[in-house]
């Protein structure tokens, strides 16, 4: 390398950046001692680098949110969900559902939902319940329209009451909404009705083949009403969702405060 190359602008840049090999850097340093202009360039470069850093404040980045990995779902899980429903419906058709549970018909639903809430939040901890991907569990209502994703399934083995199943859904902000499905309970109304208790907002009703309860803690009542109406419609196999119902769900989602559970 000639003296001219040794103190070229490009080499001086590499020198300031610490990119030269040690012996080459040493030669540049020695040459700088005898070249006032090159030394001035190094001083300028050093100041320029420092000022560029100072002038380029880090822009405020969006929150650290990673794209969701699709949960790995065992092939048998959707079938298990369907089997659970079939068992429940079968039990109801055999008259088992007519047996009255001690206390309110919603006691088992409340217990199952509180047990789920007591578990770690879905995004933070290893999930304790059975997990499902909403799109794969055809046996359970798809509540995508309400921005709810199916993440949990637990079966109440209390056969003497006909049993029940809690499907757990989670919203975009981590709100947890449980859908309790149990044999037909004659005491429940045909349309979703307020049945709040034990600190939970509950909408419960009965259909032809099963009874349902939608449970949430601290959830906006209007949002819960909207979701209940949607579930009732889906479980009655009514075709299509009216546009106004979709709009109501969206409005409740945007206006209401975040839920607690």
């Amino acid at each position: 390398m000639t003296e001219r190359d040794l103190l070229s602008w490009t080499t001086l840049n590499a020198y300031v950046d610490g990119e030269l090999e040690p012996d080459q850097a040493a030669r540049v340093a020695a040459a700088l001692a005898h070249d006032r202009e090159a030394a001035a360039q190094v001083a300028t470069l050093t100041k320029l680098r420092a000022t560029v850093k100072a002038a380029s404040a880090m822009p405020a980045a969006p929150p650290f949110v990673l794209p969701q990995a699709r949960p790995r779902v065992a092939r048998w899980l959707p079938w298990a969900a369907a089997a659970c429903l079939a068992l429940l419906v079968g039990a109801a058709s055999l008259g088992l559902g007519d047996r009255q549970s001690p206390g309110s018909p919603l006691s088992a639903a409340v217990a199952a939902h509180q047990l789920w809430l007591a578990q770690a939040t879905p995004s933070e901890a290893p999930r304790l319940g059975v997990e499902l991907a909403g799109g794969d569990a055809g046996a359970l209502p798809d509540l995508t329209l309400a921005s709810l994703r199916l993440v949990h399934l637990s079966l109440d083995p209390a056969g003497r009451r006909g049993g029940g199943m809690l499907a757990g859904y989670v919203g975009p902000n981590g709100c947890r909404v449980g859908l309790w499905i149990a044999p037909v309970e004659a005491a429940l109304p045909l349309q979703p009705a307020i049945q709040d208790r034990d600190g939970l907002a509950i909408r419960a009703w009965r259909g032809e083949r099963a009874s349902y309860a939608l449970l949430g803690r601290g959830i906006d009542p209007a949002r819960l009403d909207g979701i209940a109406a949607l579930v009732a419609r889906i479980t009655r196999d009514e075709p299509g969702i009216p546009r106004e119902q979709v709009a109501a769900l969206a409005e409740a989602r945007s206006v209401g405060p975040a839920c607690l559970g």
């Binding site: 950046d17 001083a43 000022t51 980045a61 969006p62 650290f64 990995a69």
Partner: protein
Amino acid sequence: MRIIVERALRQNWERLFSYALRLSGNRDGAADLLQSCATKALAAAPPEEAERVRAWLFAILRNIWIDEHRRGETGALAAEEALEDEQWRHDDRMIAVITVRQALERLEQPYREVIELVDLAGFRYGEAADILGVPVGTVMSRLSRARLLLLNAIEGGAVRPFAARQRKRANDQ
């Protein structure tokens, strides 16, 4: 593997966004670019050497941007012209945060990009070369040219290639 990529994304989130902002020129575009980068990185196998993961993320982000916005025009700098000698006449007193900030805005994108990678993200020349997909020598010449253009811009002159500036000076005489 996913854990390694997640950790690298978390550690470099702000700097990746800064780079994305430098490429796209607007916050929405940069945010989209960042999410696309995260999606692609999480689905891919990272380099085995941990120290290469960071540069790998930046390369993914840049490639997505090229695919989406600049396909066919990546050679914005058609030729890396050799730098010509010039009598040194820059005044260090002009180098200040505000003048540098304004000058950076006026630099052509490829020059801003190399400054972003080396001066701000702290990549070595070799890493920047991998990200940009060019030889190390190109990074050296592009960076030194970028800094010279920056100094010229700080002085208040229009930012234009050095040779053009000399030609204009010769014409003026």
